[in-house]
């Protein structure tokens, strides 16, 4: 029943209550260069984003968590939230 979590980013997206298109808009605002379709593929773990793309997506989700009064639960690959 339990499968390896390929869609960790998508779980965070769901938890943050963001639709795919809202997340894409936020990712785009932060300078993200991938299309909405590619973003969905990253979220579902079908293809791996570059470290930079991963961090832009992570931050787009984290900013939503921050707006909701929460922390930044999605880890950055650049280590920014491990400081």
């Amino acid at each position: 029943m339990i499968e390896p979590p390929l869609d960790v980013l998508d779980s965070y997206r769901q938890e943050a209550g963001l639709s795919h298109q809202e997340l894409w808009l936020r990712y785009f605002e932060l300078g993200g260069m991938s299309t909405g379709f590619e973003l969905e593929a990253f979220l579902y773990g079908m293809i791996s984003p570059t470290a930079h793309d991963h961090d832009v997506i992570a931050h787009a989700i984290n900013e939503r968590f921050a707006e909701l009064g929460g922390d930044h639960p999605v880890a950055y690959l650049c280590g920014a939230n491990a400081d």
Binding site: M1, L6, D7, Q14, E15, A16, G17, L18, S19, H20, Q21, E22, W24, L25, R26, F28, E29, L30, G31, M33, S34, T35, G36, F37, E38, E40, A41, Y44, G45, M46, I47, S48, P49, T50, A51, H52, D53, D55, V56, H59, E63, A66, H72, Y76, C78, A80, N81, D83
Partner: protein, 373 residues
Amino acid sequence: MSLIQDPSSFDAITTFEGQDAVVALCGKVENLAASELSAALNATIDRHPTSVVLDLTELDFMGAAGMVAVADAEKRLATEGIKLTVRSPSALVSDLLAMLETAEETRLEVELPEHDHLGPEQQGRAPVVSQRVGSSMAADDLRRLTAMPADPDVVDGALRLIVELARTSVVGADGVSISLQRHGRLSTVAASDQTILAMDADQYSTGEGPCVDASLKGHWFHAESLATETRWPAFTPKAQELGIKAIMSSPLTSLDRPVGALNIYSRTASTFEIRDQEAAAGFAAKASAILSDAQVGVSDTQMAMRFQEALRSRDVVALAKGVIMEREGIDEDEAFTALLRLSLEHGEALRESAAATVRSVVQAEIVRSVPND
């Protein structure tokens, strides 16, 4: 996630106790199996049961088409005056809610064969300091943004399922409804019973109440005990006449704009605990994601304005990255990381850090350009 669909991976087992039917679904209802589910539900309804219980305790997954099949069956049952109850243990509720996201997955499955450029070579692009968005990327996404699956059947089916799940999983919930603003007016689009329909109607007619406030102001409202409630003097006595003692209304948003509310009432005062409040917020978040994807309550003009706003933010971020690249002699990705660290340090949104970075340069330029006396 598997994109291969195996329609034989689920079973619908109908048992009758007298005239009460229980339809137990096991396995995965992939989209291709939806017609099978539809047939099973219709065969059950054809036997004119007095009630139908849809047992999802053994269900692992249901695609969007399966939800539409359930929604259609519910519509048919409603016209024949038969109530549909969804049975699911609370542990499954979260999984089930994840299923509601599958309207999006369906889209992904449909689009996949048309995209053959998903290799890693697509990911590494040349850094651009301040790119203009006349690119096909933005055009594609604009099309996507305006061509989301806004099928009202899927949306309504999903909302009804959320209402039913919230009623069965929020302890102390006696009734649940969803109100939405349509054509500038609030109306109830899904309700678990007549009492909550009457309660919602009382709020629309008096123009006040937790549901109205949550829908219009986008805030969360909890009337712990109507006996001591003072915020809605015209509405509160009407709700009390209906036997309602406590109400929780959580705002629903579509693309960050308040468009409605998820309302839960109880006949017992002070019954909603923290975990119930969190569950309500969770259901509201799921409903909001569905509404956002269907762009419910969002006009083309508003969508265009939101996109313009996104473009403005993107420009500022790009400018700030350019400033940092020039100042620190680093590449674009590193400049983004620097901005990211700045925003985390200051506890502000990244676009605010970006704006401050750009301002600092502009101010420095002004200082430089003022001649010294």
